[in-house]
Amino acid sequence: MRCSIFLVFLFFSTSVLFAQGEFFQVISCKGNVSHQLDSGERVEVVPGSKIEAKGKLILSDRCMIKLISKDRPQKLQSAGEYDLSELYYAADVNTMSFTGKFWKYLMNGLNNTDDQRSIKKYGNQSASGGIKGYNKSSEGKVKLTSPIYGKISGGNLNFMWRNKDNNECTFRLLDAKRNVVLEEKVNRDNFEVDLEKAEIVKGKYYWDVSQENEKSNQVMFEYAPLNFEKMKGKLARISDYVEGDGLEKSWIEAVVYEMEGYEYEAGKKYYNLMKSNPKHLLFRKLYVLYLARIGNIDDALKIKDSKY
């Protein structure tokens, strides 16, 4: 008798102990998600909170929650009530061992050899994370639109900024040491400079525009005349370029220019592609993504939302 009482006690105490460790961690959630306890009380669920695997999880319309328990992430996105203990045990599925995964992969066919890369081959750390923080409200300030940055190959360069009322503006071109190279007063939103005629030498330059009480940022660009023969050779090595039609060629050119750092030229090509094919969604998307990449989010959103 004593023994049976002891066993029952042991069973209950271990169940309680195990149940204590049963919980979910909320990875992220959107919308109105709440946890209804057994007592009927409702607690709002926020990212990072721990919820016990008891009671119900209530999701309203357009809600989503990502949970993790026992190293198994789960995502719920349909409105309704979910029993948490059921969810907890549903996560308890067997995962394949390393050996199983390895042989499965090997059997699926492994044909390639390895090519371990040394640090030197990676070159310097030219890839960098982070995103540019910008000012949404640009009132009271001259906003420069093009060229924003990058290399410029030469020819006529059209500097553009926002000037809806065509007020008088002063355009300035400065060299790397911030000495003024060119200064002009204009009543429009652009100023064209022929870099060769203006006898601009290779190197880094800054440009800005000021109005009566307002001044733009200074934007840097690099005048780096392009070796067109080299570029042609580079393009000729791309088989898709050689075989492509006019549109494909322009697209590839735009990509290659952008990869080489000639953002301004690439932008012109993306823009021309979109302009010459106004009904083509792909070219619109390409231009919008290009604008987003160079940080011109305002124009990107405007073009994205405009009718076509």
Binding site: I27, K30, F98, Y122, A127, G129, G130, I131, G133, Y134
Partner: protein, 367 residues
């Protein structure tokens, strides 16, 4: 002359040049997001507006995070009220780390001489860290540099800096490698993640989300910009092992993976170059010996046996490399050995056919 068309190989050229066998461990064998770090919170600022960032900092700081790292560059100073308020928000808290970029790389000296991407108006006298990874645009991000000497001053990478400050570790272990492999655990769902709208517009108490946490703010895409490739990179977790084309992970998540690795101390170790060379050499020597034995002993049909052995050795080496990385976080660089498994048989055949047979041809016959 017979024209040979190699066009069919072109698509693989780029893919294979950026191929690493150990990528398989991350994309096929390791369970993505099965490790969850609830100490790190990622805040998605979407398209980052400085006014909203100022508000976000105020709200997040009110919940008491231990560290707040921003993967956002404030390059321009616009001389307006918003910028002044933003700077005020930065200065009001001593747990904020701002982002910069390494620049002006001198190839001769192998060092950087500049940090850019944050205007002095914001970054002056504040903690900064750089957001660079090893690799150029489009290449797989496998490695990062924990710290760099810029003009004689040590500057840390964002992931390293936030983790060190979180742990209160002011002296980073400088005896560690200058280049570390990233031990990825998953994408943004390996960490707590929250959108800016939930912080700015929500009425919930987010103390549980932020209190005493390592918070990192940056871009994780937005619903409107789902396809945006901005600040998105290719990583070994990409579902395509070779010929990776679509970026799969936002920069902020890569920094979070680095921070997790630093917090846990789960660095990927490597053998010394000397030992690696020795093991590779030993492998090649063993393979040559085995192939030579089979070639001279098994006849006819030796080539079938050799092909089977080659395949087995290749699979075995690959298993060892993956196994060691999977279980011990040790990266064995057996690329030369694996190449040896492929090429050594031809070397043995040439040696036997050209050298040995030639020698026996010129040998005087004993009568």
């Amino acid at each position: 002359m017979i024209p040979i068309n190699f066009k069919a190989l072109n698509p693989f050229k780029k893919g294979l040049s950026d191929y690493d066998a150990t990528d398989l461990v991350f994309c096929e064998f390791k369970e993505k997001n099965s490790v969850f770090d609830n100490r790190i919170v990622l805040v998605n600022v979407g398209v980052p507006d400085r006014r909203e960032i100022t508000e976000l900092i105020g709200k997040i700081e009110s919940y008491g995070p231990r560290i707040l790292g921003l993967d956002i560059h404030f390059e321009d100073f616009n001389k307006n009220a918003i910028d002044t308020l933003l700077r005020k928000a930065f200065k009001a808290h001593d747990n904020i780390i701002l982002a910069k970029r390494l620049s002006q790389f001198d190839e001769d000296q192998g060092a950087y001489f500049g940090l850019e991407g944050c205007h002095d108006f914001f970054c002056d006298s504040l903690s900064v860290a750089y957001t660079n990874f090893y690799g150029s645009t489009g290449m797989t991000i496998r490695k990062y540099s924990p710290y760099e000497l810029v003009n004689g001053k040590t500057v840390y990478g964002l992931g390293t800096e936030v983790a060190n400050r979180y742990m209160g570790n002011t002296n980073y272990l400088q005896q560690r490698d200058r280049v570390e492999s990233i031990n990825y655990i998953g994408d943004k769902d390996a960490f707590i993640n929250i959108d800016k709208e939930q912080i700015l517009n929500g009425t919930s108490d987010l103390s549980e989300t932020f209190k005493d946490k390592l918070v990192m703010m940056g871009y994780l895409g937005t619903s409107e910009w789902e396809d945006s490739v901005k600040d998105k990179f290719v990583t070994p977790m990409n579902p395509k092992v070779a010929t990776k084309t679509n970026p799969d992970m936002y920069g902020l998540t890569i920094h979070a993976n680095i921070a997790h690795m630093n917090l846990e101390g789960t660095f990927i170790e490597r053998l010394s170059p000397g030992l690696t060379r020795f093991i590779n050499l030993l492998l090649i020597f063993m393979m040559v010996a085995i192939f030579n034995k089979v070639y001279t002993r098994v006849n006819p049909g030796y080539w079938k046996v050799i092909k089977v052995i080659q395949l087995l050795i290749f699979a075995l080496l690959f298993l060892i490399v993956s196994f060691v990385l999977y279980f011990f976080d040790l990266k064995l660089e057996l690329g030369v050995g694996i190449l040896g498994a492929v090429l050594s048989w031809d070397a043995v055949k040439w040696y036997n056919n050209l050298y040995i047979k030639k020698q026996s041809f010129f040998k005087p016959k004993s009568s």
